[in-house]
């Protein structure tokens, strides 16, 4: 019963597609078929989530329409009764003809080989996906660690081109977490570059490039290896970035030490 209640509480995350893809999602979907109250709840939650989705509407690239329509013209649809027919009478049409037995055996062998290859592919994809996920999770954990560190300090500063940069700094972890808001999107050929500037002028390290998404918010970005006395800075550089900053930073934040 405890387990069932536990499953039931997953209706919210399920409706937001926030269960782990695979086993957890499958388990909840099986529960959904037995549970009387869940389908209604999930449906209501999904309708609510749909409103969240609709609120994000934006105009697609105009050329997308022609591409989709031409793909549609080439794409066969599943027949209307497809699902139901398959469930209703799955094997009825197979006739037991001995003559076909050998052919059948050959087909099975091919099928087995194809299946084996498919399994190998799926396995390697799965392990790659797992690896990537665990990297992403490690990243999230590191970000959380900085933000919840006992010595975490938050510094927000405006930039000379508009918008703000917010840095959460943990001296003990030698890391900062960066977020930006309202930085203008740059013309093609230009990009924001992140820097840690040490006390000595030659101690400047590039910490990567930053692309501003359409909504103007970026982050959280984790930057490691912060040393005492470092200043965090952002410059506007040619796309691809540079080895050393070529212009005056649009913002400089002396980090706590």
């Amino acid at each position: 019963m405890a387990l069932r209640q536990d499953l039931h509480s997953l209706a919210g995350p399920y409706a937001l597609d926030a269960l782990d893809i695979g086993a957890e999602q499958d388990r909840f979907e099986r529960h959904l078929q037995r549970c009387h109250t869940c389908p209604g709840e999930v449906r209501g939650f999904r309708e609510a989530a749909t409103r969240l989705g609709l609120a994000a509407a934006r105009q697609p690239p105009p050329e997308m329409r022609a591409r989709v329509m031409s793909a549609v013209a080439r794409t066969r649809q599943i027949p209307a009764s497809d699902d139901r027919a398959r469930h209703a009478r799955p094997v009825q049409r197979l006739r037991p003809v001995t003559r076909l037995a050998w052919a059948g055996a050959a087909v099975s062998l091919v099928a087995a080989v194809v299946l084996a290859i498919a399994l190998v592919n799926t396995q390697s994809q799965l392990s790659r996906a797992r690896q990537q996920l665990s990297q992403a999770q490690a990243q999230l954990q590191a970000i959380t660690a900085v933000q919840t560190a006992t010595d975490a300090k938050v510094i927000t500063k405006g930039t000379s081109v508009g918008g703000t940069v917010t840095v959460v700094s943990s001296v003990s972890l030698h890391q900062i977490v960066l977020r930006t808001s309202g930085l203008p999107r740059l013309k093609a050929g230009k990009i924001y570059q992140l820097w840690l500037i040490g006390k000595k002028p030659n101690k400047i390290r590039s910490e990567g490039l930053l692309v501003i998404p359409p909504n103007g918010h970026t982050g959280p970005v984790l930057i490691s290896g912060v040393l005492a006395g470092d200043t965090f800075g952002v410059t506007v550089e040619p796309a691809g970035g540079t080895i050393q900053p070529t212009v005056t930073p649009i913002v400089g934040i002396p980090l706590p030490s």
Binding site: I21, G53, R67, M69, I78, A129, N215
Partner: protein
């Protein structure tokens, strides 16, 4: 495009048009599909873009989703929910699949889960334009901060609730509760009849 009372697309009743169109699409009506496209390409692309955060990938995923709508329209069952929700659910799932898959993991740290900005001029003259995004914002504002954070991280950020728990630094059960309570409140505030 019709603007319904409160400026909302009403999945029940108000959009019976779209439900009907999708039923025609299931019978191979390409004209009906064009109408569905014109109504929903903006919401589909916008949502995917919100989650995926990359224009090229968003377009790719949007095309896949819209083609899937065409291909599998026969699976749409009006008894189980509205056409809008059916399409948007496919779109969200595909977007989440994409961000949680291998290629996107690297860019992941750059994603945030901010609520979409106010609708601007760039929004298509379509269903999107008739939406009251302000209403959605208003309802989000009516949540507690932790509820709002959990729901936006999960839905717009594409994070699993486990990842949300890690990100926010609270127990899994707490996140489940926040999402559920927040969705109940959203459902009421938005006047969802289910």
């Amino acid at each position: 495009m019709r603007v319904t009372e409160g400026g909302f697309v009403r999945p029940e009743g108000g959009e019976e048009n779209l439900d009907g169109l999708l039923t025609r699409v299931a019978r191979g009506d390409q004209g009906a599909f064009e109408a569905v496209y014109d109504s929903l390409a903006g919401p589909v692309y916008g949502l995917i873009n919100r989650v995926v955060r990359d224009a090229a990938q968003s377009e790719e995923v949007s095309q896949e989703v819209l083609l899937e709508v065409w291909r599998t329209a026969a699976r749409f069952d009006p008894a189980k929910g509205s056409a809008v929700t059916w399409v948007m659910t496919i779109a969200h799932r595909r977007a989440v699949d994409r961000v949680r898959s291998a290629t996107a993991a690297a860019a992941r740290e750059f994603r945030s889960a901010e609520v979409p900005p106010r609708l601007s001029d760039e929004v298509a003259d379509s269903v999107a334009a008739s939406l009251d995004a302000e209403r959605v914002r208003h309802c989000l504002d009516g949540l507690t901060e932790p509820q709002r954070e959990s729901i936006t991280l999960a839905y717009y950020g594409g994070y699993s609730y486990r990842q949300v728990a890690q990100l926010v630094g609270v127990a899994l059960s707490t996140i489940k509760t926040r999402i559920r309570d927040g969705l109940i409140r959203m459902r009421e505030c938005l006047g969802v009849t289910w």
